[in-house]
């Protein structure tokens, strides 16, 4: 791995100006859709194929009865144990050298398996192209040593990107500085995410934020047990064929399908 990066989102500095939301659309050339005001500043109401990052607005009543307006920049967490990659049948989703999760759009077949698998409900389906879409941490920018568009646009320093260890250290220092319920979110599950939050409130206070995100068990069984086992089986079959070739000479047209079983599983 070239250089594992982490994007740090310090929500204690976020003013919900939504510069990041627009910068993301601008850099990634994502169109706007006509929306309605549904009684909230949050718009569009959720992540969608043309909205890869979104500020969530949440009115939270504190213990003393006073309101606390919470802002959370939502988007792909870029997991190390990425359920989307595990479940993707075509290899469209993959880890980059930065640890982020990127996508070969041409390989996506629109099966939506990643949508079901993602513990953060991030990938979104575009029916027009029959493909999913999500944040790729501005992979093309990272490749030329530029920060993601959202980070570049952030006026307050709520968004930063840097070497994984340094960012995590920074996150803990900031949470300690803030005190109270402030905590770091992202480094302790799915083998660590490449987006890490400093949350001023406990994780369970935030809407749409899983407290203990996991790669679904069936994905682990599929990707980490069954699929390797299947590949192993396939490999054994190939080896068997080769041995058969060595011992029995070239196959005849009648034997056409015998070597492909493993790959079709």
């Amino acid at each position: 791995m070239k250089k594992e990066l982490v994007k740090l989102i310090d929500l204690s500095r976020c003013t919900a100006c939504r510069g990041c939301q627009v910068a993301c659309k601008q850099w990634n050339e994502l169109p706007a859709k006509r929306t309605r005001n549904l009684g909230s500043y949050q718009n569009p109401p959720d992540l969608q194929w043309n909205t890869w990052t979104l500020i969530r607005f949440q009115e939270h009543e504190k213990k003393d009865g006073k309101v606390n307006w919470l802002f959370r920049k939502d988007g792909c967490m870029h997991c190390t144990d990425a359920a989307c990659i595990k479940v993707c049948p075509t290899g469209a989703l993959y880890h980059t050298e930065f640890g982020s999760v990127s996508m070969h759009a041409d390989k996506c077949i629109g099966c939506k398996a990643c949508i079901t698998a993602c513990p953060f409900s991030v990938p979104k389906y575009d029916p027009e192209t029959n493909k999913i879409a999500k944040c790729d941490l501005c992979y093309t920018r990272l490749q030329v040593n530029q920060p993601p568009a959202c980070v570049l646009s952030c006026p307050t320093g709520a968004l930063q990107i840097g070497a994984k260890d340094a960012m995590i250290k920074k996150a803990y220092a900031r949470a300690a500085e803030l005190g109270g319920d402030a905590n770091v979110y992202g480094d302790k599950f799915v083998n660590g995410t490449h987006v890490v939050y400093v949350l001023p409130e406990r994780a369970d206070v935030y809407d749409h934020l899983p407290v203990d995100p996991k790669v679904p068990l069936e994905m682990i069984i599929w990707k980490d047990v069954l699929k390797p086992a299947a590949l192993l089986t396939a490999g054994a079959v190939v080896a068997g064929c080769f041995l058969h070739y060595i011992t029995h000479g070239p196959k005849t047209p009648d034997d056409e399908t015998t070597c492909e079983g493993g790959n079709k599983s």
Binding site: G39, N43, T156
Partner: protein
């Protein structure tokens, strides 16, 4: 701003009141967060809990239009608890001066009031002087007629109970803010105030700011790092437009607009040049004649001569006592007295108050020109929903303009920092830069005048008008140099002490306003900008040095700040009488040996302890000190709480005067008022959202529209519940002047107030919307609701406090 954006980081306590800084100044807000990182307390006092409140240590809700009551209570608290910076108050303010014994205040009125004219004669609003003309002072601050004691007496009525009852702020919250902010009275602490349209948009707008100025002087917070009174200007160049005389009553550089009776240059100079015999007062405005004549030379060039009073008679004159604000303009237009109208870079049908009156006024015009980057509700007022186009004769011209990034020029930010900006792209299609439009218009007018003549030909034909570049386009650099000023002839100056000779050549740019003269040998279109070029013509506004020698964020080599690259004005007040900084950790200035070291000082004179040559720090004031007693205002030398034109109370709890006594309401049939009217029971305020720009040309930007797609009214949960209104449903909002339909945004962020023992609800909506775009938009401009009335000092409209009803649609 008396200070500058970066300096916000140096503050120990930031009071954001009258501003929604995080939403309307999102980039600048980072400096506030830097202060917070240093341990500063950030306080937001605002009717609504906003994105700003979310990042502050405290949000304290107060009823719209009651800021003076809140601040008056703070003045009382500071005095009662002796939280003042005593040395500063004694020597750097007029607290020690003795007020005219005939000055009085009773039941909301100061002495000299004329009820019929709704204005004051100010002859008793004075302080006493000795035979030599020097102010009489009592440095013990004990004389019952000294400003300090008068101030104490005036605000004695602003008790916690009274203030709480008017503002709806709990006594606990009042004490919390008063104590936090009052603590900045310590010599080594600084508190700053960030305000914006939340303070100016009231019938007491200017006095809101005056009240805070008094607090800042009491606490020794003016002229210091992390202090000051800081107006966060609402668009990138609004400071520039103010400096260059956007208002009808000033000329560029805040020179006064002459009125009819002041019909000679001599009279004008006599009237506006202040005189002081106090040897310790710099009285900088004694240079007023130099700035006036240099301005006239810039306007009329060689045509301005001593013989013709430098063309003074060609300047337009205001009718004495008459006002020409936008409010007065629409009133006259509605009365059919105005034929033509330039709505230049504006969308007045959405942005001006009382939209019905504005739109009906436009119908009375013969012609209107709108210069804009998109069509808007103003240019298309004649085809608005419900308007009978056939009944309107107004001929409308919509000229496509270049956007800000499509032209070169200077841009002044709130901190008086004037930065040169280059053109990024050519304007599309037929769009022109404003400068080119103006040049073309004036060229055509001049041709017509030459051919056909016309009224006041001297003004048009004598104008110095050579601002084109080689290709015939408007040349922003030429105009900027003209604003800076030139030597109009060879000038040799011989130093009276050293005998050194200084040769200045005709045509060279003037390097500082200290070189401007009243004899016609210099020109300057705006004296505060003199020094934006050096004598060789180097454009200092384009400088991009990143050095910060003081470590205080002054960045003196980055662009140019007026005046004279001074980053914090009145900076000599940051030091004691000996010239030592009050806060040794923030050495903005220090008197070392025989000179000031640090920021560009407010003049080279030694500090006040030097009885022979020392000067007082407030050099722009005639008496050299900060004005706690401020007779310059039209409604009184001490700010007093008056109710908005429309409020929930039938009677002002402070006095028998409900509305600001110096305000004269308009009388047209569309200027209806509903004060304390049960049909309109809710306080309403208006504002702009982060995602949109003022009257909303950003609605044409799909990404921004997607985030904030349509008009909404923010309404508290309790009120919504009592009205049976659900979040997201369409509702009707009505004032006595107009009504509209929009989306209800039911929120926990608006809470009811307890006012005079009764529950009062406040609602609010953004003014960014109109029918013209997007295509499916409704005619939901918030200014249908607002009244045509404003502060009598500036006529800034009262957009921030009026009464409405809300119901299910």
């Amino acid at each position: 701003m008396t200070n500058h954006y970066i300096d916000l980081k140096n503050s120990d306590c930031i009071l954001i009141m009258g501003s929604n800084a995080a939403e309307n100044h999102p980039i600048a807000f980072k400096w506030i967060l830097r202060a917070k990182d240093r341990g500063a307390k950030i306080i937001h006092v605002d009717p609504r809990y906003t994105r700003t409140s979310a990042r502050c240590d405290y949000h304290v809700p107060l009823r719209s239009g009651t800021d003076i009551a809140f601040l008056g209570g703070m003045i009382k608290h500071i005095i009662d608890n002796n939280m003042i910076q005593e040395e500063y108050v004694k020597y750097y303010t007029n607290a020690s001066q003795i007020v005219n014994p005939d000055f009085s205040f009773k039941d909301g009125l100061f002495s000299g009031y004329n009820a019929e004219k709704r204005s004051y004669k100010k002859d008793t609003w004075t302080t006493m002087k000795d035979e030599a003309g020097i102010p009489i002072r009592d440095y013990t601050l004990q004389d019952p007629h000294c400003v300090y004691q008068m101030l104490k007496k005036h605000y004695d009525r602003y008790t916690l109970d009274m203030v709480s009852s008017i503002t709806g702020v709990s006594k606990e919250d009042l004490l919390l803010v008063y104590n936090e902010y009052g603590a900045t009275g310590a010599k080594d602490k600084a508190g700053t105030e960030c305000y914006a349209l939340g303070w100016t948009h009231h019938t007491v707008g200017s006095q809101n700011i005056r009240a805070m100025s008094i607090i800042q002087l009491l606490l020794g917070n003016m002229g210091v790092c992390g202090g000051g009174i800081n107006a966060l200007r609402g668009e990138p160049n609004v400071q520039g437009s103010t400096d260059h005389a956007i208002l009808y009553n000033i000329l560029p550089g805040y020179l006064k607009m002459p009125s009819g009776p002041v019909d000679t240059l001599a009279k004008y100079i006599e009237k506006y040049t202040p005189k002081s015999t106090d040897p310790q007062s710099v009285n900088w405005y004694q240079n007023y004649p130099k700035y006036t004549v240099s301005f006239l030379k810039a306007i009329w060039g060689d045509k301005a001569t001593a013989e013709n009073e430098f063309g003074y008679s060609w300047l337009p004159k205001l009718d004495d006592g008459k006002h020409y604000s936008i409010l007065h303009t629409y009133d006259a237009m509605y009365a059919g007295k105005i034929k033509g109208f330039f709505a230049y870079g504006s969308n007045v049908a959405v942005s001006s108050p009382n939209s019905t009156k504005v739109r009906r006024s436009l119908e009375k015009l013969k012609w209107m020109v709108n210069v804009n980057i998109f069509d808007n509700e103003t240019a298309s007022f004649w085809k608005a929903p419900g308007v009978d186009s056939n009944a309107i004769d107004t001929e409308v011209f919509l000229l496509p303009a270049a956007a800000s990034m499509e032209k070169e020029g200077s841009q002044s930010n709130s901190g008086r920092l004037v930065q040169w900006r280059y053109k990024a792209a050519n304007p599309p299609g037929d769009a022109w830069a404003d400068g080119d439009i103006t040049m073309k218009l004036m060229d055509t007018l001049r041709e017509l005048y030459k051919k056909e003549g016309g009224a006041f030909p001297e003004q048009i034909l004598n104008l110095k008008w050579d601002y084109r570049d080689a290709s015939g386009k408007f040349d922003a650099l030429k105009v900027s140099k003209q604003i800076n000023g030139h030597y109009t002839q060879d000038v040799t100056i011989i130093d009276p002490v050293t005998g050194a000779k200084e040769e200045n050549k005709k045509g060279e740019t003037v390097p500082t306003f200290a070189k401007l003269m009243a004899d016609g040998s210099t020109s300057s279109g705006n004296w505060v900008m003199a020094g934006s070029f050096d004598q060789k013509g180097l454009n200092k506004m384009a400088k991009r040095g990143k050095e910060d020698p003081t470590g205080l964020g002054l960045y003196p080599e980055w662009a140019f700040a007026w005046p004279l690259n001074r980053r914090i004005i009145y900076n000599r007040a940051s030091c004691d009488l000996e010239g030592k900084p009050y806060n040794p950790n923030m050495k903005l200035l220090e008197w070392v040996g025989d000179k000031w070291v640090g920021d560009v000082p407010d003049g080279p004179a030694p500090p006040m302890a030097n009885k022979e040559k020392g000067k007082m720090p407030f050099i722009m004031k005639v008496d050299g000190v900060g004005a706690i007693f401020g007779p310059g205002m039209v409604e009184g030398p001490f700010p007093e709480h008056y109710e908005p034109l429309e409020g929930p109370l039938a009677k002002n709890l402070m006095s028998g005067q409900s509305l600001n006594p110096a305000v004269t309401p308009f009388k047209s049939d569309l200027d209806k008022v509903a004060n304390a009217d049960s049909k309109y029971p809710f306080v309403c305020t208006t504002y702009s959202a982060t995602e949109h720009w003022c009257s909303g040309f950003t609605r044409w930007q799909p990404w921004l529209l997607e985030m904030m797609p349509e008009a909404y009214l923010e309404i508290g949960e309790k009120l919504a519940k009592s009205l049976g209104i659900k979040n997201g449903e369409t509702i009707k909002v009505a004032s006595i002047r107009g009504e509209l339909k929009c989306v209800a945004m039911v929120t926990k962020r608006l809470v009811p107030f307890q006012i005079d023992g009764k529950t009062v609800h406040e609602v609010g909506m953004p003014f960014n919307y109109g029918w013209r775009f997007p295509e499916d938009a409704t005619d939901a401009s918030a200014n249908y609701l607002t009244p045509s009335i404003g502060c009598p000092n500036t006529f800034c409209p009262e957009y921030k406090a009026f009464m409405v009803n809300v119901s299910k649609a």
